[in-house]
Amino acid sequence: MHLRNTETSFGLVSQLLHWLIAALVLWQFVLAQLAGNASLFERLVLLGRHKSVGMTILMLAVVRLLWKLVNPRPVILPGLPRYHRALARLSHGLMYALIFALPLTGWLMSSALNTPVSYFGFFTWPDLVEPQQELGDLLALVHAYLFMLLAGTIAVHASAALFHHFVVKDSVLRGMLPGMNR
């Protein structure tokens, strides 16, 4: 077991960050869905949690990106066809971008709607823009569309990983499981 990545495999830190962020993204979706069908008060509570969890994802995304930059990048399984690898790289890049873009649009939206972002009640993140409802409403749409893009990408990404594991029976999925090498 190794903490850092090598040329051929993910280290424990990358693996844990991957699954932690994956779980929190799923939780974000659940909170947002519940908020959509809740009473106004429950919506306030659920979105309050959603905002704190979302800012956690933003911080983890920063850590993850920095960690990626100071680590070797494990090559995507060399045996795969080129367009497969290109697709994998594209979807990974997109997901990296979106785990920044979603929290940032959420934070911007909250600032514009004059609903500042508390971090679980411990402190308040600074507002990024002055209150302006039109911008906030627009950002809520952008936030929702970006999530659809993320959800679609994750669906392809996760299906590909499962396909590799159960059909191709190679070590792609194992490579991302904590403590395992591919």
Partner: protein
């Protein structure tokens, strides 16, 4: 003889508090009434766009003051329509039933340099509570400002029925901040007799 006239003029003021012809200050349009509340653990600022302040106040004779402020609850503005709707609704301000919130005081005392405290009643919804409202009265750059802030608990006034009485997600304390720009109702230089009399006492 002139002293006599002054005394006679003074009499009704001291006996009845406010003479009928004592004009209130004119309140300038750029006055503001803001509040700071806590939602989801974070502070946000809102304001009431419409309110009427009837202020009879002379810093030299604070004991003769009367302050009355009527706030149009429907004019609440937090720069977010969805939240404004909730605030107007039955569980919070219930603006349909209680279109006004009021503060009134007939008792002002000095509380330091340019500082005063108005003891009065604050009514929001159907609840009235005594309130000692501190304020400052200052002349700055040729303008007169009456301003201050005070923190109240919204639940003392029933602002937050049912699930909205929860204070983890909607803070109990609400800070109220007012800044009134006042203009004298009297032509420049002319002051009512009783105020001169009081001032020299």
């Amino acid at each position: 003889m002139r002293v006599c006239v002054a005394l006679v003029l003074l009499l009704p003021a001291t006996v009845f508090g406010q003479p009928e012809n004592d004009l209130p200050w004119q309140v300038h349009d750029d006055s503001s009434l803001e509040f700071v509340a806590v939602q989801q653990g974070a502070e946000f600022t809102g304001r009431f766009e419409q309110f009427e302040a009837t202020i009879r106040f002379d810093p030299a004779a604070p004991q003769l003051s009367s302050l009355a402020i009527a706030v149009v609850t429907d004019s609440v503005n937090t720069y977010y329509d969805d939240r404004d709707e909730v605030l107007r609704g039955p569980d919070l301000l219930n603006v349909e039933r209680w279109p006004e919130a009021t503060f009134s005081s007939d008792s002002v005392r000095v509380d330091g340099e340019s500082r005063f405290v108005a003891a009065g009643d604050l009514t929001i919804r159907d609840r009235t509570q005594p309130l000692a409202l501190p304020f400052s009265f200052e002349n700055r750059d040729g303008q007169t400002h009456l301003s201050g802030e005070i923190t109240i608990s919204r639940l003392d006034f029933g602002v937050g029925q049912g699930e909205w009485s929860n204070t983890e997600w909607v803070g109990a304390d609400v800070k109220i901040r007012f800044r009134l720009r006042l203009e004298s109702p009297y032509p420049a230089g002319e002051r009512p007799a009783r105020q001169d009399g009081e001032a020299s006492k």
